[in-house]
Symmetry: C2
Subunit: 355 residues, 2 copies
Amino acid sequence: MKKHNFYAGPSIMSQYTIDHTIDAIRDFAGTGLSVLEISHRSKEFQAVMDEAQALFKELLDIPEGYEVLFLGGGASLQFCMVPYNLLKTKAGYVDSGTWAHKAIKEAKLFGDVEIVASSEDDKYVYYPKLDNVPTDLDYLHITTNNTIYGTELREDPDVPVRMVADMSSDIFSRPVDVSKYDLIYGGAQKNLAPAGVTFVIVKTDVLGQAPRAIPTMLNYETHVKKGSMFNTPPVLPIYSALQTLKWYKELGGVKKLQEIDEEKARVLYDAIDESKMFVGTVKPESRSIMNVCFVMKPEYAGLEKDFLDFAATKGIVGIKGHRSVGGFRASLYNALPLDSVKVLTQAMKEFENKH
Amino acid sequence: MKKHNFYAGPSIMSQYTIDHTIDAIRDFAGTGLSVLEISHRSKEFQAVMDEAQALFKELLDIPEGYEVLFLGGGASLQFCMVPYNLLKTKAGYVDSGTWAHKAIKEAKLFGDVEIVASSEDDKYVYYPKLDNVPTDLDYLHITTNNTIYGTELREDPDVPVRMVADMSSDIFSRPVDVSKYDLIYGGAQKNLAPAGVTFVIVKTDVLGQAPRAIPTMLNYETHVKKGSMFNTPPVLPIYSALQTLKWYKELGGVKKLQEIDEEKARVLYDAIDESKMFVGTVKPESRSIMNVCFVMKPEYAGLEKDFLDFAATKGIVGIKGHRSVGGFRASLYNALPLDSVKVLTQAMKEFENKH
């Protein structure tokens, strides 16, 4: 049976990415070798790295003065690399939930941290307002999409300082005004590649000013100087990332992806709003286009497991909600087809009609 | 034409690993999903992680009290993680060349570093003798195999302190007495997996004693406590690593791999020693079983490029020497068949006979 993959990450990859990855595992770029065993110093892999960086810049319309890196270690490693490199005296952080907490914890090891805005007062069901951002911050850190609570900031806010953003789970779902940021980072395992590679978009002239010695691998300058090839990079995940970027370009670029993503989210949120059984957990103005969180209304409590089992009979996987929220979470990343969303909304209706 | 892959790393993977990886990209563990898009929190991937850790311990006969981790970031990240976690006052480092230098540079950020032994005096063509190791070291760091100079320490030396070892390029090529070490680490892209995962074998009771705050992702305790699943691990490289471990077990384990590896190295070193044209660069007692470095004798100087071209006509790739040494380097990792070595020695003889 065809599966509909709603996992929050690692998450659905396009058939394009999967097929081209398999081809390159069999024979990479006509070398007669597998991409699993190719030297990262080979000219064929250098071409992959170059093209992936160029296409990344092209698709996001990244201005001059920024570099794109593909690093190992995950976005969680960025939580400490960001302050290691950029925190001089004080940084501001927006507390939008779990991932922000993790970033804040690491920043506190390196300097003062001011929580500029938080939605903790209402269990993170909305994205905090950025009305009163101080001007004396080295940077303001935002997490644009919260996969756990299903909230998203779908814009690049105007604040009086430059920003650093964790865009792990919504990169390539809308155009981004990169010029407003000093650095954007994210784990690739949602909208870009299989797990194992982290993208970093960094404004190079903000580097080299940290008031501390930085271990070589944690210093962005190391990777900028070596074109993201200081050490052996995660070759296969980067190869797969390039395939995804090519597929995005074929589809029509980021604006087209935004249209598709917003249509998918609209179909699912409409189904939730029209339902007698299900209800969304997030305030409408903060609803994530990528991760849709919903629960059963109190009068249907106890049927959650039955619905998960019923959905599984339709091939639907990965919709169990995070334990912090409960209920259900459907992640609608770029590679998820609208058809899968329709299978889910149909399953919701069928289940509702039965009970 | 069949290719003979002598790259120094990333390097040849077994057909077993390649085929099983492709199978799992098509359908992972009967889930109907690709291993490229499976949640690391799925029970199917948890089983992969559990089996990979257990088999790693079994094959290397790792005693109680140690844990095996699969992390991102590469061995280069370990160069700073080791002193971050283990250096209290002073560490000893063995200077066996390039990789040792990189490790030493990071350790100096965290405390005193004593170079206990070095072969710099003779351009690293031998492995330094470990006769006078001080007793007041937090640990002695060794790089058991130097991929660039082709030297190797094929034993676990008796020294008066515990050791930390970078075994990136010779893990699984001989039995190791893990009890002599506090920590063993390595990039997986030689004898284990495609690039993107780093293995760490750590004695857990040495952790938690560092005189400094450690960022969460750089703290081994974080990963030990979470069974190497604190954050999203590099899923596909870990899956491939498990396939290699299974293949090693089928082949007969580490002692069998040692026999095979030593036989391959013997065939190539014999051909070099019998040659009028080629000569090894490393002192015989320090010759690496994994990376065989050789050059042309002065009277044949200038024919290097011709030999590379001639070898290429036989399907031989990856034998150009590192720029620090010049000449040639043939890496004979576990997945390289003896037949490939014979193709190389035959090519050497044919070329010699022509000139």
